[in-house]
């Protein structure tokens, strides 16, 4: 299920002129964003994408970032196939069509 670019998205485009990117939501987090598998949002950087989540999908945001705004320790954020830790972290630049994927780190025990 893909989130339609609703009125708020149009307004956000007009306001910021940022490229539209897609956030892929992992299954474990879909309950916190009304079941959407993807969110289409305007953002120039990963940080801006997270700020957009904080503003428009606060429950999802709280699962991804802690109170200080840091991405939770056991989550990985990818831009297309690259972990942002190997790029510029949350300051990684986004271009139109990029897919940002949030995934729990592999763990055992």
């Amino acid at each position: 299920m893909r989130l339609p670019t609703a009125g708020d998205t149009l307004a956000r485009h007009l306001m910021v002129g940022a490229p539209t990117i897609t956030i892929h939501v992992p299954g474990l987090l879909r309950d916190s964003c009304a079941g959407w598998t993807e969110l289409s949002i305007p953002a120039r950087t990963v940080r801006a994408a997270l700020e957009d989540l904080e503003q428009h999908h606060s429950a999802l945001y709280r699962n991804v970032c802690d109170e200080t705004g840091a991405v939770r320790r056991h989550l990985n954020v990818f831009v297309n196939a690259d972990n942002v830790r190997d790029l510029d972290g949350v300051d990684t630049t986004l271009t139109a069509g990029d897919v940002v994927t949030i995934l729990p780190a592999v763990s055992g025990g």
Partner: protein, 370 residues
């Protein structure tokens, strides 16, 4: 009319609920509830229609609070969980304690890093309690082996006692607005100064309504053979206060070890107190033979309760919130182990039976008659 014995069991893989008729012959187990992540605190809030709460310490997606309004048949997330204000700079690591507050739906929650939160609506919204969370000592507390946790919240009218590892014992006399470190006689074996103003590694505290001013404490003991500066520090692990926690004295004499985690008071006798001595280095039972120790005179002497428990080759730990006692006329004790057994001590701990022997590692056991 209260006619069921209800247990909440917080484990490494979620929360379980068990219940039985008052005879406690057979318990039915439900669960695990939650997303399979550790549950360090549970609460059976029996004020009015019972509500069950469980912390849900999700290492991936952060801390949640789960709530059940159907006696533990199902749990759902509350609308929010405790969280520090963004400008505070701290981030929640774990939820260590959930207790009923003063109002009908008030809850109190102790967290890591050590801070206190209050909810006025059964866990749907939370606010930080600044009197302790922003206490002048707060940024000087250090984490113990389990983290920097606020694990004990005891309400006594307008008084609130808090146990922090490692921060020590703090008390409020004004309903939780302001707090004072109150650790006279509480030793810190791991510090050059064995009796600091604060910074002790308190493991658990307990009190009884019938003994105003009396508190029991399981502190971080195990320093009787310390050879560093200041010499041995025996008996600092099990303590008692008779002045609302202003001063403390050792009641460890007669125990095989003054190290342990839980401490529990008999529901109908303030002089009867239970501990679970452990070897300080391994956190397992002395001689690999587990036993609960009971004092019936406020800590002046102790007796060993082990009938039905394994007699050898047993190496579990019982964590700070993994022992509780029910309030029936002849109460039973319950403890859960890090190896996943849940034990019941019938007749006040005289006879032990294993209720469940293959649960995930157990962090927390609470019991109520509802």
């Amino acid at each position: 009319m209260a006619d069921r014995v209800l247990l909440t069991i917080g484990t490494k893989k979620g929360v379980f609920v068990a219940d039985a008729a008052k005879a406690r012959r057979a318990f039915t187990l439900r669960g695990p509830f939650g997303p399979g992540v550790p549950v360090y605190s549970t609460l059976i809030d029996a004020r009015g229609t019972p509500r069950l709460y469980a912390s849900c310490c999700n290492p991936f997606f952060g801390m949640k609070v789960l709530r059940s309004t159907d006696m533990g048949k199902s749990f759902t997330e509350t609308k929010s969980a405790p969280a520090f204000p963004k400008e505070d700079g701290r981030a929640l690591v774990n939820i260590w304690s959930l207790e009923a507050g003063g109002g009908k739906k008030d809850l109190l929650c102790g967290v890591e890093p050590a801070s206190l939160f209050r909810s006025p609506d059964g866990g749907d919204s939370w606010e930080m309690v600044p009197g302790i969370s922003n206490h002048e000592h707060a940024r000087q507390w250090q984490p113990g082996g389990g983290g920097l946790c606020m694990h004990t919240i005891i309400r006594d009218g307008n008084r609130v006692h808090l146990g922090i590892s490692t921060g020590g014992h703090y008390v409020s006399e004004d309903g939780g607005s302001t707090f004072t470190a109150s650790n006279k006689g509480v030793g810190a074996g791991f510090a050059p100064d064995p009796y600091p103003e604060f910074g002790q590694c308190v493991h658990k505290m307990a009190r009884h309504d019938d003994a105003p001013g009396r508190l029991y404490m399981q502190n971080h003991g195990g320093w009787s053979e310390w050879t560093g500066p200041g010499g041995p520090r025996p008996g600092i692990g099990v303590l008692r206060s008779d002045d609302y926690g202003r001063s403390w004295r050792s009641i460890a004499k007669g125990l095989p070890s003054d190290f342990g985690f839980p401490i529990v008071v008999h529901p109908h006798d303030a002089d009867t107190v239970y501990v679970m001595p452990l070897e300080p280095s391994t956190r397992t039972c002395p001689g690999a033979a587990p036993a609960v120790w009971r004092s019936e005179n406020g800590g002046d002497s102790w007796s060993r309760l082990a009938r039905g428990l394994p007699k050898k080759q047993t190496y579990f730990t019982v964590q700070r919130d993994a022992m509780d006692v029910d309030r029936l006329k002849t109460p039973a004790l319950y403890f859960g182990t890090t190896t996943g057994q849940l034990w019941i001590g019938r007749e006040g701990g005289e006879q032990w039976d294993c209720l469940f022997d293959s649960l995930p590692p157990i962090h927390n056991v609470k019991v109520a008659v509802v």
